[in-house]
Assembly symmetry: C2
Homo-oligomer: 185 residues x 2
DNA sequence: GTCTATAATAGGATAGAC
DNA sequence: GTCTATCCTATTATAGAC
């Protein structure tokens, strides 16, 4: 039996972080190999190619994120306000690393893939539509359906804009204030 | 005297559009050459390199955008609401091409350059801080200074988020509705 | 101002030994 | 499961003729 030194899971996790930081196009297999401490070619033992890796990363993120949202929305112990609070704190932890943020991987990917023939687009779209759906569900407990839907879209937009500014100016206050605003509606 | 067939201005304009669509990393000198109808190497007659071109593009955008904002803010014939309306209609025309948007070049660039050693960052930051400053000035006519500043940041965030969704889902309604909201406050 | 040719390198990917 | 060696293509950039 062969010795497992590096697991696919480990490669996925570390690659995710690097691509999140540097962006898809600017992260080469070589960069990944150095970060992972493996030979460049060994990467292909785990993945068909760079695009294949990215698909797995995005799927992983979508799944994890959907889980988080689902648990909050379906938690019977939380009222509307509690759900929004919980969501905000989860997001803050998820996107903020010691006051610094890499922005939203999905948004970054979106901007790097729109208009091209990448397979990434459907999964990125799914991410955002899922986000809006769950948020609409929460706001629906307190507001009429159409109003809730509008609020969800607005909240997502503010959130993404805040992530952009947080990253660009390396100032987590944009993110924190946006989340406060969104949770208090 | 030599014959001028292609001007630097023309290269700049056309390059801007292509990079806006495809993104900086995914646009090669070769791509540009094809679009411009020139030899690949001829590009270097006008620009020191790709990064040099990008700097000029970003400077151009910053200048043009600052002009637009300045003219609106300093127009004595417009009241607060009129300024916001004017701004919204300018933005809609600037960012929306026949119902499709390429998103915000500055935001796209930001996400492609943050965390790297690119010279782009200062100019992208300047763009966003200028935007916030002018918007704060407009809201200040109607709201207290600190409230106006907060509203400006929020408006920018909604706007950028809306551009993201507009591009991702190829649906200009996100942009239109965000602009309506921002202008009516 | 524009082109052809070419250098130089980086990046994605495969073959095959261990 | 991991490595070295290698291939191939794309891409940035330069040299020099017209």
């Amino acid at each position: 039996m062969p010795t497992i030194k590096t697991s696919k899971e480990e490669i996925l996790q570390k690659s995710l972080l690097l691509i999140w930081q540097k962006g898809y196009h600017d992260t080469s297999i070589g960069d990944l190999a150095i970060t992972l401490g493996i030979a460049k070619s060994h990467f292909y033992y785990y993945f068909k190619g760079k695009e294949d890796l990215m698909m797995e990363i995005l799927s992983y993120m979508l799944e994890k994120f959907t889980q988080i949202l689902q648990r909050i929305v379906e938690n019977p112990e939380l009222d509307t306000s509690g759900k929004l609070q919980k969501l905000a704190s989860k997001m803050a932890r998820f996107y903020d690393f010691n006051g610094y943020s890499n922005g939203c991987l999905m948004a970054n990917t979106a901007l790097e893939s729109v208009g091209k023939d990448y397979a990434f687009l459907p999964i990125v779209r799914k991410f955002f539509s899922t986000f809006i759906e769950y948020l609409t569900q929460i706001y629906s407990e307190k507001y009429p359906a159409d109003e809730a839907a509008r609020m969800a879209v607005q909240a997502l937009q503010e959130f993404e804009g805040a992530l952009l500014l947080t990253r660009l100016f390396a100032d987590e206050n944009y993110l924190k204030q946006a989340l406060e605003r969104i949770a208090s509606r």
